[in-house]
């Protein structure tokens, strides 16, 4: 077995008195797609933000490709280059064109020239059907287009790992598919991904492994076929039943 792309060990995180993550252990292999499911407030988003070091953890270790990124004195900016994250609310920079959004970090962080960065960005935008939007500003794009730009922006840094935080939750239903298709293409291309999602059908299709988060712990994990048809834990069953009742599976 090769070195895991990501290794989490006993990760704890509290906001004040509220313990959001209560000892998360997780291993993700290279090219693996892991979906995090669970009700709102179960800690999915916080877990992703901790992996990206947007939130400092209180206890535990996070190891990326053999490097412990939660060790003291680690340059967090170097780590973040290797881990892309895409947010539920897109968070594009509203004062910049699509092209400027995508080229900013490659130019300022990786030191690419404008030409190199624009060539890389244009290639990615073409690949995801956004070439004609390169000079548009975010407020002129649909939600689905904005989210695809956000994914391209993360990809332009050529990360080892991409974290997707409920990237379709803020979209109108008819715009969800275009974003999910982009993610499917990334998975087919071998991108290592951790996906927090409420799209259970999508999780069943795309995931190599599904983790059910409950009250800050991974209560149950397994291949999607098992998780969705024969969950072992009562809490998982209850959660999935609610999802089915809502017509989302």
């Amino acid at each position: 077995m090769t070195r895991p792309a990501l290794h989490l060990e006993g990760v704890h995180k509290s906001f004040g008195a509220l313990e959001v993550l209560r000892g998360i252990d997780l291993e993700v292999a290279e090219h693996e797609v892991v979906c995090l499911i669970g009700s709102s407030g179960s800690g999915k988003s916080t877990l992703l933000r901790c992996i990206n070091l947007l939130e400092p953890i209180d206890a535990g270790r996070i190891v990326v490709e053999g490097d412990e990124i939660t060790a003291r004195g680690v340059d967090v900016n170097r780590i973040r280059r290797r881990i892309g994250i895409v947010f539920q609310a897109f968070n594009l920079f509203p004062h910049m064109s699509v092209l400027a959004n995508v080229t900013l970090a490659p130019r300022k962080v990786l030191g690419l020239s404008r030409d190199e960065a624009e060539a890389r960005a244009t290639e990615l935008l073409e690949r995801f059907g956004l070439a004609d939007k390169r000079l548009a500003y975010p407020d002129r794009l649909s939600g689905g287009q904005q989210q695809r730009v956000a994914i391209v922006r993360a990809l332009a840094m050529q990360p080892d790992l991409i974290l997707l935080d409920e990237v379709t939750s803020a979209l109108d239903p008819e715009l969800v598919a275009e974003v999910l298709n982009v993610i499917r293409e990334l998975a087919a291309g071998g991108m290592t991904m951790i996906i927090a999602t409420h799209e259970m059908g999508f999780a069943r299709d795309i995931a190599n492994r599904v983790c059910f988060l409950d009250a800050g712990q991974i209560l149950e994990e397994g291949p999607p076929a098992e998780m969705f048809s024969a969950p072992r834990e009562e809490r998982t069953r209850q959660f999935l039943q609610r999802v089915i009742d809502a017509g989302r599976l």
């Binding site: 594009l92 900013l104 962080v109 407020d139």
Partner: protein, 294 residues
């Protein structure tokens, strides 16, 4: 995401005046529009006419008219005053350039996180508190007379120089608060997005936060700029011959206050276009909330 509907903003905040309730401004019928205009015109004429009547029928109006509204003196002083106004223009243009820079630096200093930057935050806070508290005219006095008075070799004793320094110090304190409000109005998710791409804190500020913040605070910045224009006359207290000092010289020479009225007129003429520009920018911002990344 704003309100896209055809709701008149006046109605939203209870100012349903023109056109009546439940009616958008665009759909006011022409007859009604004419009627509104005529009403506004008539009421304006009546109000101002009343003021003129009250003032000109005052017992001492003839004396006041002579002392403040002398056409000949006005015509004679205007060129000299406009000439002297060049000094005020130089004062506020040079000062504003430094204020916009220093104000931003102080705003950023006040927002630096973590215990390491505590002294910087403290200094910036004390600076802002101090220079907002002390009246500007005192700062001008203290710097203009105090520092040259020390007699340190190489320190300029030029009143124009110290006038600019005093205005920069006072206004940077105000402007830094405007910038700070702008920076804090940019949603934290913007910084999260920038940092998640590997930009460090300074890069996130420079490329993502500050450009959005500055766009939002242009109207209040212009407001402070108008204040600065007027406050350049305060530098007259340390002996700089600018428009107000020139006006006082003319006043003493003619035993007449008309030059001061001419000064007021000059300030009105340059300030009003800027005030309208500010209004226009505010209205435009409200129309299309470009910084609407919540």
């Amino acid at each position: 995401m704003g309100f896209g509907g055809p709701i008149d903003r006046g109605e939203l905040i209870g100012l349903a005046g023109r056109g009546g309730p439940r009616r958008s401004r665009r759909r006011v019928p022409p007859g009604e529009a004419v009627r509104s205009t005529v009403t506004a015109l008539v009421s304006t004429v009546v109000v101002f006419g009343l003021i003129v009547v009250v003032v000109t029928s005052a017992p001492n109006w003839p004396e006041v008219q002579k002392a403040f509204f002398d056409g000949a003196i006005f015509a004679r002083s205007l060129p000299k005053l406009i000439d002297a106004f060049g000094t005020n223009v130089a004062l506020f243009l040079i000062a504003e350039a430094f204020i916009l820079g220093l104000g931003l630096v102080i705003a950023i200093f006040r927002g630096l996180p973590g215990p390491v930057f505590f002294p910087v935050r403290l200094l910036a806070t004390v600076y802002v508190d101090l220079f907002r508290a002390v009246p500007g005219i005192l700062i001008i006095y203290l710097l203009g007379f105090g520092i040259p008075g020390l007699g340190i070799a190489g320190v300029p004793n030029d009143v124009f120089f110290w006038g600019v320094v005093a205005l920069v110090l006072v206004y940077s304190a105000y402007v830094s608060e405007v910038y700070r409000a702008g920076i804090e109005s940019v949603h934290w998710s913007q910084e999260a997005a920038a940092r998640s791409l590997g930009l460090n804190r300074l890069q996130a500020l420079r490329y993502v936060i500050v450009p959005q913040a500055v766009r939002r605070v242009i109207p209040p910045l212009l407001n402070d700029f108008i204040g600065l224009q007027k406050d350049t006359v305060l530098v007259s207290v340390i002996g700089l011959v600018e428009i107000f000092r020139e006006g006082q010289i003319l006043k003493s020479a003619t035993f007449n206050f008309t030059p001061l009225l001419a000064i007021a007129l000059i300030f009105v003429v340059i300030t009003i276009p800027l005030a309208r520009l500010t209004d226009w920018l505010v209205a435009r911002d409200r129309g299309s909330q470009l910084g609407g990344a919540r």
